[in-house]
Amino acid sequence: MADLSINFAGIKSPNPFWLASAPPTNCGYQVMRAFDQGWGGAVWKTLGVPIVNVSSRYGSVDYRDSRMAGFNNIELISDRPLSDNLKEIEEVKKYFPDNAVIASLMVETKEEWHQIIKDVENAGSDGIELNFGCPHGMCERGMGSAVGQEPKVLQTIVEWVMEVASIPVIVKLTPNITDVTDPAMAAVRGGADAISLINTIQSIVGVDLNTLAPFPSVDGKGSNGGYCGPAVKPIALNMVKNCAQHPEMNLPISGIGGVENWKDAAEHILLGASSVQVCTAVMHYGFGIIRELLPGLENYMNEKGFNSIEEMSGAALPNVVEWKDLNLKYKVVASIDEVKCIGCQLCYIACEDGAHQAISISANGDRVPQIIDDNCVGCNLCSLVCPVEDCITMERRDDGKLDVSWDDLTQKGEIPTTFDDDRAGGKGHFVPKPEEALKRKK
């Protein structure tokens, strides 16, 4: 049986599922409810400098009838008195000594940092997370992502923190930067115990077409917010991977971004995370989603033979390589299951207009499209647009004996060197003549 408990940079937690620092961890009541339902840890809503919040704070991207495929907010850090929060942290730890309570912090001066670290340690926090990621409001005051975007400043503040911290320190990174490993390595140099990523991405989720104000709008005006939710998972996964693969990265990583079900969490872990943080999914469905996350991940680990999160963490990393190392001899071709096909012809039009003109339809009314094997480059598009499960599959056509990458060709001096080089890939590929477009016009 897989053991889901973790020791994350010294922070012990019964499972890798933590609530991210956000509205769901605004007060002790919420954190207690979450722990009661099975969450392993909670990163408290950021404590720090005094702020005032606005009314109208969240906006969402809905995809057709799917609500909150993407989500953003212009809410700031905790607006509750520090003393109340400290009292509640203490209270929570009394009831749940085995769960992880991590205090997220954001202040300005060295003195403020030193003071607040003492405060949260005294309250019984198991760890500290430095909020260097908030991309709205706080950054205008020189905090949050303003720090995360300046590796030197980040390193300095981490050093201040490490001077006094006696509990593990996690640095939370902003994705609003060209290369996330720059601030990540600054955290390493500053002496941090762990990193977490990603914080939210600067965003405008939409414009009210009547009032012309962006969402969420405050009295007819709006500001950029921080984007999160299912839509950001691919960006988060890539950044987690980038940090995990960095040769000098030796710190544990807490993966954040788009985790809604156990599969999302598993992906974060496989790409190098050893705890995962969740916010948007809880804001959408409540703490109860933990009852799907926990057994889902446990079942997967048992099936795959991962005994612990530590063992599973980063297991996919060897398969994430650079493009130049991919096998150029691997060849797949689409195949349509005629029995499953419902005749929507979305694959046809996607390939015809959006890809490689490798699917034909018959003129006799039979609505099942046919793949033109010779034209198919194996791009996957048809299988992606097909609304029927397993109707279009990509079948391997090479014999698996050759493995030649761009890098191999480069080393052998066999890469194409001119635009018309016979060794260039697209040269032999079929394309219809331009005038065919008019002949086929309906």
């Binding site: 009838d65 419902i342 929507c344």
Partner: protein
């Protein structure tokens, strides 16, 4: 007692005839429109006699462009609102939806269509830029789906028309013929009032064109005449006592209940409906909903050879209607009023139906409804010089919907012998194109 109490007022009537395709609210329309796959060369379009770009209007609904959606629909079908409610979508667009092939419920295209058009109608929205009026005018006989469609399409080409309608209300079958759970009188009238206001044609109600003098006057006043008169009354089947008290033609029965919206006469406890078409199913269903306790559809041939759509038979069965097959009515029993029907059993023999000797039997009943087909309006049509009818009494037209008399055009049931509202709407629109060609040649 049957499931339904005899409706004695309008309120009870509408309870018994609750709409089977009620108007969607915004939320329902949003979720349903989200499901559309936006198929390439979509089969639903091909299945629609008016070829509405269905995936387009569904996408327009989904992106809050209701006005655009209504325009897409009316562009192809001027009776788009009524069609959303009365079309047999199960065998047309919705029957062609690719979801059927994966056992997923097809998109509710009819209701989405009605949702979009109702929005335009309720707001009296102008969707089309009309060209300036030209100096010729068309007379249209019949304010049914064919006639109304023809009038709208003519106006789009710059011609106005005057419609002469025999009844006191418009929309033909939508108002007088289809089952009341498909469309209400109010909804049928709303659409025509909207179109009339938008396109500026006039409708003269209670103006039945009957005589040669009437026709001559039209010929003298108008540049072309369109005939959209539909079918006539229920055809007699020539069996003994078929005019006895308690015998009704289905068409007349349905028209009466659509007009009254309450049960004027009692149908008694037991009703027999003769026939196997969609009108028989409607009449049976309606009898049950009008309070009859036992309703039987009696069809002379086998169940499988019924012309009615499966879903129409199912609708009737849902309200307790029973079907008996291979029994041919040979006599209505009764002295002062109907007491029963004498049938003879039949079998199919080499493609033709034969009576089985000695198999006669009687089913007792209080009412007999004849859903045995409608007559053509031959007497009236014979007055038009050079207008040709085929053997079955249908008006013969060319590809422009022009009759043997070049000034007369025709479409709808009078031409096709009796089809759906949507067919009449499609043909009326095409006939207008033919008329324009004639006027401008």
């Amino acid at each position: 007692m049957g499931e339904f109490k005899k409706p004695i007022n309008e309120k009870e009537f509408h309870e018994n005839f609750a709409q089977i395709k009620p108007l969607m609210d915004n939320n329902q329309a949003f979720y349903e429109s989200s499901r559309c796959l936006f198929c390439y060369d979509a089969p639903c379009i091909a299945a629609c006699p008016t070829e509405i770009d269905i995936p387009l209007f569904i996408r327009q609904i989904n992106s809050n462009n209701l006005k655009g959606a209504a325009k897409t629909i009316f562009d192809s079908n001027w009776m788009g609102n009524a069609c959303g409610k009365v079309c047999p979508t199960e065998v047309l667009c919705e029957g062609a939806c690719v979801y059927n092939h994966q056992d997923v419920k097809p998109i509710e295209i009819g209701r989405l269509q009605n949702y979009a058009t109702r929005s335009a109608i309720d707001k009296n929205q102008s969707l089309f830029d009309l060209p300036e009026l030209k100096n010729k005018k068309v007379a249209i006989i019949g304010a049914g789906p064919a006639g109304i469609s023809c009038a709208c399409e003519l106006r789009m080409a710059g011609y106005t028309s005057d419609i002469f309608e025999a009844h006191e209300k418009p929309s033909g079958l939508n108002m007088y013929g289809v089952a009341p759970y498909k469309i209400t009188n109010q909804e049928a009238a709303l659409e025509v009032d909207y179109l009339k206001e938008q396109f500026g044609f006039s409708i003269h109600y209670n103006r039945r064109v009957t005589s040669e003098e009437d026709l001559e006057e039209l010929e003298n006043t108008y540049n072309a005449i369109f005939i959209g008169i539909g079918l006539g009354s229920t055809r007699k089947i020539n069996i003994k006592n078929e005019n006895l008290k308690g015998c009704f033609g289905a068409t007349e029965f349905i028209e009466k209940l659509r007009v009254n919206e309450y049960a004027e006469d009692s149908l008694g406890k037991r009703v027999i409906v003769l026939g196997g078409g969609n009108t028989a199913m409607d009449a049976a269903s309606e009898s049950a909903r009008m309070g009859a306790e036992e309703v039987t559809i009696a069809y002379r041939n086998s169940k499988d050879s019924m012309r009615a759509y499966d879903f129409e038979y199912e609708l009737a069965k849902e309200v307790g209607v029973k079907g008996v097959f291979n029994c041919n009515p040979i006599e209505i029993i009764g002295s002062e009023k109907v007491e029963g029907v004498r049938f003879v059993k039949t079998k199919s023999e080499g493609g033709s139906l034969e009576a089985i000797e000695g198999s006669e039997f009687i089913i007792t009943c209080d009412t007999v409804i004849f859903a045995t087909g409608q007559s053509k309006q031959k007497e009236f049509l014979d007055q038009i010089d050079k207008l040709e009818l085929d053997k079955r009494g249908r008006i013969v037209v060319n590809e422009n919907f022009q009759t043997g008399n070049p000034k007369y055009f025709a479409a709808g049931d009078a031409v096709n012998g009796g089809a759906e509202v949507v067919n009449a709407a499609a043909e009326g629109k095409k006939a207008a194109v033919g008329i324009v060609r004639f006027l401008e040649s």
